[in-house]
Amino acid sequence: MSQIQLKEISKVYADGYEAVKKVSMDIADGEFMILVGPSGCGKSTLLRMIVGLEDITSGDLMIDGKRVNELAPRERNLSMVFQNYALYPHLSVYENIAFPLRLNKGGISDEEVKKRVGDAAEMLELNDHLERKPANLSGGQRQRVAMGRAIVRDADAFLFDEPLSNLDAKLRGQMRTEIARMQRRLGVTTVYVTHDQTEAMTLGDRVTVLKKGVVQQIASPRELYEQPVNLFVAGFIGSPPMNFLPARVEDRSLRLPFCEVPFGEEFADKVKGKDLVIVGLRPEFVKDAEIQDPVPGAVEFEADVDVTEWLGNELYAYIPFESDEAVRAKLDELDRDLDGEGMRTQMVVNLEARSRVREGERARFFFDPKLMHVFDPENGDNLTRNEEEAKRIAAESEEDRKRALERAKRKEAEAPA
């Protein structure tokens, strides 16, 4: 159990590349912290600095209030699951899991080792494989062995580096819930690196979004989704990703490619002096006006649907639009930052499965402008972010987290020992 604090941590590699820039964060005791970001943004570097495999160029790393920058990995008492598991191929599964215990000189008796490995194996359902060698195991089993090795000793925190990235979708889902359950049960502080959206949103108490070594936002998944601080976070979180539309600022309204959205007094201040902004609209916020009555204040529009994809439980419709030259550069840059597949000059909308919208036809849609985000095209800041709402969400999720931990502890206490 411990608290990890990063204070303006930077990393400059030997070749002069600055992979991590002044990252600060507080990870509370028992918290599940996720690090996400596009490939090469410094997630692994950050994790390896925490565990002690990479020197910290500047800044302080504190564990439980003690500065540990100079401690060797084994003195930090953290355990890590490597991206490629790094199991010891010459040892059986049992010995792999027991490895950290055996190193503890003089400390742990054979019986104790047996019991602890047994417990870990039980929890990870590895009992049938204890005598086998890692080479003969499936990916998911190897992953569980790696996890067993991490949890078998009383580490102060768990660090995971994309542990599920090489598993197939089904196994990944399974392991994800398993990790979540285990973390709650053990109540151990966890830092988890991923670039998978779903993992980030479902596992984390809080998520840190990194871009090129710089922290963009540290917040609960819900806050990231509802109140992103900038274009990058807004585009990174959510699947399918948020639509970004160019909008002309007019006297009392925003002129979008398909429609016009009126705005009130207080918003007018924020966009004063700008004649162009970027509007962010999540696919799921656009509804089919044929099957649903517009909510009060909704903006209605008509558009030509280019392609539709029916997935059984939902329907994606793609609506092309003319991109504005003035924001084109900004959106292209954003797309590159997000490892995107190309320019997005189409809007994706996520409709109900029973929608009758078909490709090549004109259809009527509506959306609630209150759910829309407006971004500054210069620096990407979110002009519609509601700080109070953000605070409320943060407080709520913190409370949820504490409750979940307590629940897990109670359950643990009730369970027959």
């Binding site: 495999l53 990995p73 490629n84 598991y85 890692p134 195991l137």
Partner: protein, 278 residues
């Protein structure tokens, strides 16, 4: 990868000439060793009669005080040279594989250069030096030149093996709480075992087969088998010692065969598979 039966047979067909090439001289030695001295020079490949006289001669008979001490010396010298060479090469290769220090390339190149150095050019200066400092005709006097002979190759082989072991193995061990030494001993060495055995065998053979150093740097006390063979004489003045020499050659081949049989199983490639996913 498993070969199909067809592949197996074609491999077998290719290896037959190689096997013949290497086995014919071996059989020849064996046949000379079991021929009675009277028909030694009859020029027949397959002996007409078989006798164990030659073996008796070198193990219990007149040549035994020449052969048995030499056999003992050979074993001691080779084991010592192998042990020291493998341990030294292991540390050296580990440092080369893992650390980035100035002059690393230099060390590797010098090691390679040294192994190209003609052995014979070392012998005369060594002979003088050993006489002066009292190493002549001693066991260390042979072990040291063997080390210089085998270390370069051992370092090269082992550092190649160490470089193949993923860094993450070691980092995982460190995170698990191992000291550098524990990580080396419990993870790296077992993983490099095929390399260690390979080097051990190369070293052992080099020392076991050496003639130049053995004949020049020893006299009666530390003479090894290859040198001792040169001092064999026939049963009488008029007889060639061919039979006895062949018998001795057969006997010294036995440990080599045993070693290969023992270590063959250990030198399995792909020991590291399963360490990482994929």
């Amino acid at each position: 990868m498993d070969a199909t039966p067809k592949q197996k047979w074609s491999l077998f067909a290719v290896s037959i000439p190689v096997m013949l090439w290497t086995l014919i001289p071996l059989f020849w030695i064996f046949s000379l060793a079991v021929k009675p001295s009277s028909i030694q020079a009859d020029g027949k490949y397959v002996p007409r009669e078989i006798t164990w006289d030659n073996f008796r001669l070198i193990l219990t008979g007149g040549a035994s005080d020449l052969f048995l001490p030499a056999l003992r010396n050979s074993i001691i010298v080779c084991l010592l040279a192998t042990l020291i060479s493998v341990v030294l090469a292991m540390f050296c290769a580990y440092a080369i594989a893992r650390l980035d220090f100035p002059g690393k390339k230099m060390i590797l190149l010098v090691a390679l250069g040294v192994s190209f150095f003609p052995v014979i050019s070392l012998v005369t200066p060594l002979f003088d030096l050993w006489r002066n400092i009292g190493l002549f005709d001693t066991i260390p006097g042979l072990v040291i030149p063997y080390l210089s002979l085998t270390l370069p190759l051992s370092i090269w082989v082992l550092s190649a093996f160490f470089q193949q072991i993923p860094w993450e193995m070691e980092q995982a061990a460190q995170v698990d709480g191992a000291t550098s030494w524990q990580a080396f001993r419990k993870v790296i060495v077992p993983l490099a075992a095929p390399g260690v055995f390979t080097t051990a065998i190369i070293t052992f053979f080099t020392a076991w087969n050496d003639f130049v150093f053995a004949i020049s740097l020893t006299s009666d006390n530390a003479r090894t088998v290859p040198a001792a063979l040169a001092f064999f004489t026939g049963a009488s003045q008029f007889e060639q010692p061919t039979g006895a020499i062949s018998a001795a050659a057969v006997i010294v081949t036995i440990p080599v065969v045993i070693l290969v049989l023992i270590f063959q199983k250990r030198i399995v490639a792909g020991l590291t598979s399963g360490a990482v996913k994929g």
